[in-house]
Structure formats: C-alpha cells, structure tokens
C-alpha cells in the first residue's frame, strides 16, 4: 500500500514537472517571485563575480608587477616564506613543562625537541595589553604608551581605558529635546608605535592578524586584521552581562553586570536586554532596550524565546546561538548587536543570563576589523561570533551568575570560532604572516586556578581529589590545536608559539591603598576610616601616594595631579626610594609569605616619549598575591591582606620575573633568555627587512629547521 502511495506521489510530481517543462506557455517564462528571487539572486552574484573577475583580469598584470617588485624587495633576503604566530594568552612555561613531562602535550614536546622551547621574558608589568603591545611594536611601554588596562585622569584621579577613547560624533543637531548626531562615533587609539605587520605589509608581504590584543581601533595596513582585547561591547563597556530574573533582590553586582526584572504576564514572562544610551538623548542616561518574551513549556525544562521577531527554543542549562538584536532609537538611528541567552532556571523562579551585547560583526556599528569588510566576511563564512575584547564573561562566573560548566561552555564556543578563523587565515595566507591570539588560556586559568592550587581559599570547600582537571584539559586542547596547525605548514614556514606572560595562584589580596593609608602616605577625609571606589573619601591635600589599576603606584605630584603635594624632582625621587624600601619584601603576617617581591622605579624601567604617562613605581607582588579587587578600584579598606574568595583565582599581574611567557618554535633559537620585545625584530629579520632604529628588541639567531610535522 505504502509503495503504491509512494508511487502515486512520484507520478504526481513527475506529471507536475512534466507540465512545467514540457508544456511551454508564455507565463512559464516567469514562475513567481520565488523563482524570480532565486534566479535574480544567484545570477546577480554570479554577475558581480564575473564583473569582478573581468576587472581583476585586466588589472592583474599591473598588480602582479607591483607585487613582484615589492616581493623582490621583501622576499629577496627572506629566510622564510611564511610565519605563523600563535599567541596563547597566559600560557605558563612551568605548567607547560609539567604537562609535557606528564605526556599530555605531545605536539609541544615535539616542537621543543626538534625546535626550541624557552621561557619568554615579559614586560613590566606582566599585563596582557602591555605585553601584546610590546610584542607587536618591538618597543618598551615608554614608546607604546600602554601601562595597564586603565590609565588615570590627572584632573580628577578617575580611571579611563588606556587603549582607546570613544567619543560621540563631532557635530550634532539639537531639535527640541533630541540631539541628532551628525556623523559617527570618534574612536582614537591610544596605543602608539607601529605594529610589525605594518612594515611587512608595506614591503608587499601579506598579513592576516586575528584578535591580537590592543588592535582596536583597527589601523589601516596592507593586510587583514580582526581586533581583539579592548574592543568594547555595544554599551561601550568592556563587557556588561545581564541577569534577567523574577527574584526580587536588590543587590547590585560588584562588577560587570546588571540585574533586570522579569515580569509575569499570564503564562508568559517578559523582560528586556539593556543596550547603549539613546543616541538622540546623550547624557540623559536613557538606555535603549530590546524586549523579549519567555514561554515555558509544560515540562518546565524548556522555553520558547521571542526576541524581536525571532523565536527559538531553549533548554534549561543551555545557551542559544548568537541572536541579532537591534536597538532602535527613532529617526532611523539605532545599533546592531548580538548576544546569547542562557536559560538558568524556569522554576520556581525564572532566570536568564544574557551575554554582553557584542558589536554585530556582520554589520558593525564601530569598525572592528581592517578592512571593515573582513569582520563581515568572517561573519558570513562562519556565522556571528564574539567581538567583545574580553569575550569570556569572567565577571558572571565571579558573581555566581554562571557556574563553572556554563562559563567553560562559553569559553570553548568562542575558542572554536577563533580556531575556524585561524584555519581560514592559514588557508588564505600561504605566503606572509598569519598571527592569531587565543584568550581562552588566560580566562580559563584566571577562573580555574583554584582547582590547581591545593589550598586555594576559593576552593577549600571542594576536596582536592574532586577538583576538575580544567587547566590540564585546556593545555591538552591547545596542544591538539597546535598539532593541527603543524600539519598545515611546510618547511618554509616558521611556527612560533608565544604567550605574553605566565600564571600563578592568586590566593591573597593586597590592598596597597590600605597599606599607604596605614603608613601615612594616603589620607582620608576627617572622620573616615575607609574610602569608597575611586578615592571617594580621600583627602588629596594630604595624600602623597596612591594606587589604582593592577600594578601602578603613583605619587601625588605637584603640578601634575590636580591636587598634587609632592614636589617633582628630588622630593619625588626620595619618596620613591622610601616607598621602594618599605614595600619591597612586605610580609603577609597571616601566611608568613612575602607579599611583594620587587618595586620598580618606572624611570629606570621605561624609556621613550610617553614615559610621563607611566606610573611612578611598579609593584611586583609575590607568588600567590595580587592587588586586591578593592585596591584596583581605588578603594581604601582597613585590611591590607585578605583571602581571595572569588572564582578569579589565578593571575599574572605580579612580579614580572615570576611569570615569564612561553616561546616554542619549529626552528632552533640560539638565545637563552629571549624576551617578548624581540618577536617583532626577529620576524622582520626573517623576512629580510631592515629593522627600524627605534626598536628595543633584538632579533634572535634562528637556524634552519629540522622538519617538525
């Protein structure tokens, strides 16, 4: 019966096809808008491709001639055809050696044995934006102007992002209560110096650069680049997640997130995703929103989400795909973003975590790549992807909004996207430079070091034998990636694995502002024993030194700071010496360990035109210590040392001598103590280019390869 039914269906469809094909009627020339679209769209694409190929065909000889001339210059003295640099942010040499010894990292072991493995000296301080800026420019921070994530405004002692400044449009038109922006946002890169791929590009060597930190805003050069760390979210922050909840709790998140109420309307739950400030009402604090609905199913394990006009099902404990959201401001203004929803709970309460709203790479409102079409190309090829600089939401795990598994799932989803981009770049860059930085190593170590440390305060309630092997798995995963890359390269390709710094436990917090207060260097307003964020209760007229950010210590210098009291010159130098003497070797009485192992005078550490923007001293914390969360935010507490109870349990913002990075290479490197500042000159030299005179780094002696596959 079934067969006959099937047969009948076949006959029916064949008959229909027969009519269409065999009985020509003039109306057959057009079979509806569907066909029209299909034909028009595909033929339009082909037509554009054809047109472009004709154009390319005619200009190709000229371009090739130009390229040959450039290439002769570039590759004339080149020792390599291609350089592949994989950056693993925070990959630690000691852990790597340990895991190699345990047989977990066969590919890195092969690289070490047949090529080179060294500890890579990092920058002062050992912080990613600083180290990666040095990596790309080949100069010390005094020449690239990045000293920390944050810099301070001398006029008000408040912080600002050190890498980029985003301002509203230059001109606007006031219409009643609305301000219509005339033009786009103004973005100014604060990192100085020239990335080495600019030199390569100008010499005719093609470069694909993916997610190297501090490349926002993207700079123009002959190659393609996708910006990494420091790209903001759509709100302009470095990542603001959102917890939509029916729970009536008023607690604000300490960092990185907002709580949004979920309202019940019958069987439907309604909430919204907060977006950027209304561009038509700048300064009003009015934010744009995208509403969404949640319709739980009867089982209570799944719900149907409606966001704008999109609907999708979501199970409890699962992430959605990237969902495009458009924040509409009226008059045609708005912003395009993407975010992911994570359904935490449906009963008894409803809770949904929403990632920070990332700039939509398919239609970026701010440039996040060079050329701007590169981010679009990647979005079309692989689908939407995280664009936020700090895309892995460490704050959400710190605040217990995400659990370990949800955080890891987010990290590895982003990582998988990055891998796809890398392999596409490898395919597209058969000659030239392919550089890609993976942040997963940094974020996962920050958040899961507590399971590596036998007595970490943040994991004391979990028996040591039950600690998950998160970091071990992370390194094994990176090793597998390296193995796949090694299969794609030939003997003319230089493969370099670098990390900007290593990692150590962060078990104890040091509130340096508290120490400065208790030792008479920082004064509070009368009657105050502590200060709120950003020196809220600090009496600047009696304050000689203060700290904000991760490692910088500043003197309150007369004529430099708004209310400075220390005279520059001899007085300032004396104060620096005094502070260095007192802080170096500072003991944590509770643990009996050294909390600070070095204090460095920035005048001695840095040289260059931007030294004036540097802190006065850099504090090198000891193994197991770091600046406290409060101290980083300019808060003064009563305790100097305290336990770190947050999931963020590993760190590297300590004495740079304790956290070198890694350097693996498929060639022999003669230098015993290479530094990250040497990478740029080494790559330029291997491509046969002359080194710019301002470089601080020195090229390594790299000898011919033994085939490492």
């Amino acid at each position: 019966m079934k067969l006959r039914e099937k047969h009948r269906h076949l006959v029916f469809w064949l008959a229909i096809l027969g009519i269409v094909v065999l009985c020509p009627l003039r109306s057959h020339a057009y079979a509806g808008p569907g066909a029209g679209f299909a034909v028009l769209s595909s033929f339009w694409t082909l037509f554009v491709a054809l047109l472009y190929s004709v154009y390319a065909f005619f200009v190709w000889p000229f371009r090739q001639l130009l390229r040959l001339l450039k290439k002769r210059k570039a590759y004339g003295n080149a020792q390599i055809k291609r350089a592949v640099i994989l950056g693993f942010d925070g990959m630690d040499p000691e852990l790597t050696e340990r895991f190699i010894a345990e047989g977990r990292l066969p590919n890195l072991a092969k690289l070490r044995d047949q090529g080179s493995f060294r500890k890579l000296r990092t920058t002062y301080p050992a912080i990613s934006p600083v180290a990666w800026s040095t990596f790309m420019t080949g100069v010390n921070p005094g020449k690239h102007n990045i000293y920390d994530f944050l810099a301070r405004d001398l006029s008000n002692y408040l912080p600002y992002l050190s890498s980029a400044e985003i301002k509203g449009p230059k001109r606007s038109l006031k219409i009643g209560k609305y301000t219509v922006p005339l033009g786009g946002a103004r973005i100014k890169g604060m990192r100085k110096g020239t990335p080495f791929w600019h030199w390569l590009g100008e010499a005719g060597i093609f470069c694909s650069v993916i997610r190297v930190p501090v490349t926002f805003p993207p700079e123009k050069f002959p190659g393609v680049l996708l910006s990494g760390m420091c790209v903001p979210d759509l709100k302009g922050s470095q990542g603001t997640f959102c917890l939509c909840t029916t729970r009536a709790t008023g607690d604000k998140f300490r960092e990185g997130g907002v709580r949004v109420p979920v309202e019940r309307d019958g069987s439907v739950f309604c909430s919204y995703v907060p977006g950027p400030e209304d561009p038509l009402k700048p300064g009003s604090g009015d934010e744009l929103r995208v509403d969404f609905e949640i319709r739980p199913d009867k089982t209570g394990t799944q719900a149907r989400f409606t966001v704008d006009s999109q609907t999708f099902p979501l199970k409890v404990g699962a992430y959605s795909e990237w969902i495009p959201v458009k924040f509409k401001a009226g008059m045609g203004f708005g912003a395009h973003g993407i975010c992911r929803f994570y359904l935490k709970e449906l009963a008894p309460e409803v809770e949904v975590y929403v990632t920070p709203v990332n700039i939509d790479p398919g239609q970026p409102d701010l440039p996040i790549s060079h050329p701007v079409t590169y981010s679009i190309y990647l979005a079309k090829l692989f689908g939407p992807y995280a664009t936020l600089g700090l895309a892995e939401d460490t704050w959400a795990l710190n605040e217990h909004v995400l659990d370990d598994d949800a955080f890891l799932a987010q990290c590895y989803a982003n990582h998988d996207d990055r891998e796809r981009m890398l392999f596409d770049a490898l395919e597209k860059t058969q000659q030239g430079l392919c550089a890609c930085v993976f942040d997963t190593t940094d974020r996962v170590q920050h958040m899961f070091w507590r399971y590596l440390d036998e007595d970490h305060p943040a994991a004391r309630d979990v028996p040591h034998d039950q600690h998950p092997q998160v970091i071990q798995d992370l390194y094994a995963r990176m090793d597998a990636l390296i193995g796949r890359v090694m299969k794609q390269i030939d003997d003319n390709t230089l493969l370099m694995i670098v990390s900007d710094h290593g990692f150590k436990s962060f078990a104890r917090c040091v509130n340096l502002n508290a120490w400065l207060h208790q030792n008479g260097y920082l004064a509070l307003k009368d009657g105050k024993t502590e200060s709120g964020d950003w020196f809220e209760d600090v009496d600047w007229s009696r304050t000689r030194a203060y700290t904000m950010g991760l490692n910088g210590l500043y003197l309150n210098i007369k004529g430099r700071e708004r209310e400075g009291i220390i005279a520059p010159g001899a007085d300032a130098d004396a104060m620096k010496d005094e502070l260095r003497r007192k802080l170096d070797g500072l003991i944590d009485s509770a643990s009996g360990r050294v909390g600070i192992t070095g204090v460095f005078d920035c005048d001695a550490v840095y040289a260059g035109p931007y030294v004036d923007n540097a802190p006065d001293l850099l504090v090198g914390y000891g193994d197991g210590f770091r600046a406290s969360w409060d101290s980083v935010m300019g808060k003064v507490t009563s305790a100097i040392f305290e336990d770190n109870l947050k999931a963020w349990s590993g760190d590297h913002c300590i004495d740079p001598r304790l956290v070198p990075g890694v350097l693996f290479c498929n060639r022999k490197i003669a230098e015993e103590k290479p530094a990250i500042v040497d990478v740029a000159p080494t790559v330029l030299k291997l491509f046969g280019l002359a080194l710019p005179g301002h470089f601080d780094g020195r090229p390594w002696t790299v000898t011919a390869p033994e085939a490492v596959r």
Binding site: L25, A31, P33, T373, I376
Partner: protein, 257 residues
C-alpha cells in the same frame, strides 16, 4: 473606469501582483529551509568578499570562484523545492488570469482567422464553416494538408459573443468567438482530449472524444497594457510588480529568499 482615468487592466495586474507577491513569499517561507538558505547566501557573500580581500593571492581568488559556483548551486538546490510548491499553483493561476488579460477580443470590421484541425482525409475535404449572423467569411477556405488544417478568414459585422460551427459530413463542432472590447474571458482554442493542454490554454469544454475535429482555434490579438509610460505584456508587468512586492514583503516579514 477608463472614463475616471483609471487604467483597469494595469490596476488589476498591480493588485494581483501585490497579493501574489505576498502569498508567494509566505509560501516560500513555509516550504523552504530558511536557515540553510540564509547560510548558503552568506557563504556566497563571503566568497565574493574573499575575492576583494585576498585579491593578490591568486590561488585564493581561484578557489573563491570555485566556491562561488558551488554555493550558487547549493542555493539553487535549496530554492528548488519551494519553487516547485510555488510554481505549480501559480502556473495554473496565471493560465486562468491570462484568459482575461492576455488577449483582447476581435474588433468589428477587422478580419481574423478561424482554423480547424480534423482527423481523416474525408473530413478534411468536407469541412465547412457555419457562421452565425454578425460574422461573415471574406475568403474561401484554405486547406493545409500537411497539418490537416482548414483555415477561414472571417470578419465581424457587429459586437457580441458568437458560436462558429465547423461542419463535416457527419458532425458539427462549435467554438466561441468574442467581438468587442473590455476584458471578457477569452479562449483561443477548443480541443479534443489533451487534458493538460486544455487546462492551460482552453477556456471551453472539450470537444467530444468521437469528434473528427481535433481543434478549433482563433488568434486573439495580444493585450498591451500602458504602465509607467511603457506598453507592457501583462506577464512582464506582473513579473516586475510581483517581484517588487515580494522584495518588500520579504523585508517586512523577515523571510529569507
């Protein structure tokens, strides 16, 4: 309507185009794999962008051309099934509309041809045309043996709907002929058998199966519709307008095509 300055045929075509444009995109939406079409289109765009981004990498450019072709093929394959769902009812519908909008009736005093195809030599030589009052033959019948067809030239003396009869020695077969103006339902031919052809071309009942006459046909003049300063065949006007409507509705409804 014409006296009010309204171009009725153009208005009808516009109305039909908008309705069908909407219907078709909705049908397309529910009969297609929207996500796969979205991905296929995105891949097409990506490979196009690759041509520009990596223009100096000749192997990349060549690979991108290949991928554009592959992606186009994938897109056409994905569009084929919904196309089938959309095309079949649409073709039948268009065939019906074509009877009103495709042609105009004969004008009074203007000659036209009536042709009949018959089976058998006897019937071929015997066939005659019987005309009602108001229609008159203006020339003797022309026999085309190779086609088994007999052709008469006829002129209308007044407006109206007439039945002409093709007579053979044994039978008489009628065919409607319309003379005048407006948008009456016109049938260019009357057929024996040939179900699909009748469905698409004829607006009259089938000729009896035992009839020696296989087909009677008249050639109504094509209708030209004035729109946007141009003279259009209705099907091309429908093509343009329904496409525009489809684009509009697909954007409004967020349908991937």
């Amino acid at each position: 309507m014409a006296s009010l300055g309204i171009n009725l045929p153009a208005s009808i075509v516009a109305g039909i185009s908008v309705v069908i444009g909407l219907l078709m995109v909705v049908v397309f939406r529910y009969t297609s794999d929207q996500k796969a079409i979205h991905v296929a289109k995105d891949h097409l765009k990506a490979h196009l962008l690759a041509l520009r981004l990596f223009q100096d990498q000749i192997p990349v450019v060549i690979r991108s051309y290949g991928r554009i072709l592959l992606a186009t093929g994938r897109y056409l394959r994905l569009a084929f099934m919904p196309l089938l769902f959309v095309s079949v009812p649409l073709i039948l519908l268009l065939a019906q509309i074509d009877r009103y909008l495709g042609s105009i009736p004969f004008e009074m005093g203007h000659p036209f041809l009536v042709s009949a195809r018959v089976a058998g030599a006897e019937a071929f030589s015997d066939a005659t045309l019987e005309l009602p009052a108001g229609l008159a033959a203006t020339a003797p019948a022309v026999h085309v043996p190779a086609e088994n067809e007999v052709v008469w030239r006829v002129v209308a003396e007044r407006e109206g709907s007439f039945l002409v009869n093709v007579k053979t020695s044994s039978q008489a077969s009628a065919k409607q002929v319309v003379v005048g103006s407006g948008m009456p339902r016109l049938s260019a031919m009357r057929l024996r058998g040939q179900f699909w052809k009748r469905l698409l071309y004829s607006a009259e009942p089938a000729l009896p199966q035992n009839d020696v006459v296989q087909m009677i046909e008249v050639q109504y003049p094509s209708r030209e519709i004035a729109f946007a300063g141009l003279e259009w065949n209705w099907i091309w006007l429908f093509f343009v307008l329904s496409l525009a409507a489809g684009f509009l509705f697909k954007s409004i409804l967020g349908i991937e095509i």
